[in-house]
Amino acid sequence: MSDRQQTSAKVADLIAPFNKKGVAVTEATRFAQDLEWDSLTVLDFVATVEDEFEVIITMNMQAEIETVGQLVDALGRLTA
């Protein structure tokens, strides 16, 4: 697996416990609209991702991340 694939797989694992509606997740899945996460769920999820990858995803960066794919890309840059 490439680094990106590994990151993508790990992100999918982290999304699962928060995916209460059982939405099928792809890289195009949007956190707010498709997963229907409210702002608190987003904060909780982001904290989990931050600790797993040992990075900081500031709220300023979060504003630019709408989809799962964009999160995987951002993690690629942060861990590079």
Binding site: L40, V55, M59
Partner: protein, 400 residues
């Protein structure tokens, strides 16, 4: 054409649903008369107030009221000016002196509201390449202060020292950092582990701001707040507070020992570009703050009230926001908004006013009946309050 109001349709529907179910609008209460810090007339009925922030009961203090009247006579109804132009009167300097004495700090700066104090200090202190690290349950004014500025915003899990520490260690060591904490979190009435949080913040080279809005006058030996109670007030760089709670009027402030603090008066936009507080308001605030310094007996009685209400509600079978009473706020957790509204209304019919709090103001999507006690609630009133909770709780099937 798009109606710009359509973005509020969900909120309109939620509110309409609540009203259609036959409940009194919990956000439309009018107090027709106010008799004292603890009693008002609502819908023609005598109502005990258990949902104000009048923790120390200063709003009807004769000396406080007299000071306001005298200032109205001597200085008029308002300043019509910014603090940095024609809006600084003797009274504004006097209330800043009172704050410096109250907190034993070198500098005090008064804003027109507590909201503006957070907005101003947070947005001004943290610039573009700086980081603000804040508790995710922070008050709206703290988030809005972040939004007004252009710093990098890093939230961490509520009251989680390790989460704060980890994030501080991941940030560039040389970057400017402002850690923003609250003494008492106003929704559940829980306090922060400031001692541990400030220790990890200082170790990471961060400056620390603590909002002590809900602890002033009550918590700590001199009523300076949770940082005083935990013995770490000297390590706090900025304390933010308000006159609209224990002080009993309106206004906000920041106190600090930083030697360059006074420059904020020229560079802080929410301080500069608004009118200063009216002379009567700063006169009542200064008088009240000085009286709060010597209020140990009232603090002790308020703690008694808080402990008794907490124990009594728990005994009745209500689920509460904290295991132990940690402040003057006791939050009763409701299963949902519908039940919360029914219970709120049943309490009002009994003659008791509490706050109905719901998302997004509350953490984790909770509906809360938020009770805030006053040092002037008598022991008899606390007994009456518990009786009303018992009756309303049974009528709405919240308790058996």
């Amino acid at each position: 054409m798009t109606d710009l109001f359509s973005k509020f349709d969900d909120v309109i529907a939620l509110r309409q649903g609540l009203l259609d179910s036959g409940h009194t609008d919990p956000f439309g209460l009018v107090m027709e008369r106010v008799e004292s810090p603890t009693v008002a007339i609502c819908n023609g009925k005598r109502t005990i107030l258990l949902g104000t922030y009048n923790y120390m009961g200063m709003t009807f203090d004769p000396e406080v009221v007299a000071a306001g009247k005298q200032a109205l006579d001597e200085y008029g109804s308002g300043t019509t000016g910014s603090r940095v132009l024609n809006g600084t009167y003797a009274g504004h300097k006097a209330v800043e002196e009172a704050l410096k004495d109250f907190y034993a700090m070198d500098h005090a700066m008064v804003f027109s509201t507590g909201y503006q104090a957070n907005l101003g200090v947070i947005s001004t202190m943290a610039g573009k390449d700086d980081y603000i690290i804040l508790d995710i349950d922070s008050h709206a004014s703290i988030y809005d202060g972040c939004a007004l500025g252009n710093a990098q915003i890093v939230p961490f899990r509520h009251n989680d020292v390790e989460a704060l520490d980890k994030r501080l260690k991941r940030l560039p060591p040389e970057a400017g950092k402002l850690v923003v904490l609250e003494g008492v979190y106003s929704m559940l009435g829980d306090i922060a582990p400031l001692k541990e949080m400030i220790a990890v913040s200082k170790a990471a080279g961060a400056m620390v701001l603590v909002d002590e809005a809900h602890s002033m006058g009550f918590i700590g030996e001199h009523g300076r707040g949770v940082a005083e109670a935990q013995g770490v007030i000297d390590d706090v760089d900025f304390i933010i507070g308000t006159f609209s709670k224990s002080v009993g009027t309106v206004g906000g402030f920041c106190v600090s020992n930083h030697p360059k603090f006074e420059i904020l008066r020229l560079v802080c936009r929410p301080y500069v570009f608004t009118a200063s507080l009216p002379p009567s308001v700063v006169a009542t605030a200064a008088t009240s703050i000085r009286k709060l310094m010597d209020s140990a007996d009232k603090r002790a009685h308020l703690w008694e009230n808080s402990k008794r209400l907490h124990a009594g509600l728990r005994q009745l079978g209500f689920q509460l926001g904290t295991d132990e009473p940690q402040s003057a706020i006791i939050a009763v957790i409701m299963p949902d908004l519908e039940t919360g509204a029914a219970m709120w209304e049943a309490l009002l019919n009994e003659g008791l006013y509490v706050n109905l709090a719901r998302p997004p103001a509350t953490p984790a999507g909770m509906t809360l009946l938020r009770c805030s006690l006053c040092a002037l609630h008598t022991s008899e009133q606390v007994g009456e309050i518990l009786g009303m909770f018992a009756a309303a709780g049974r009528a709405t099937n919240c308790i058996s």
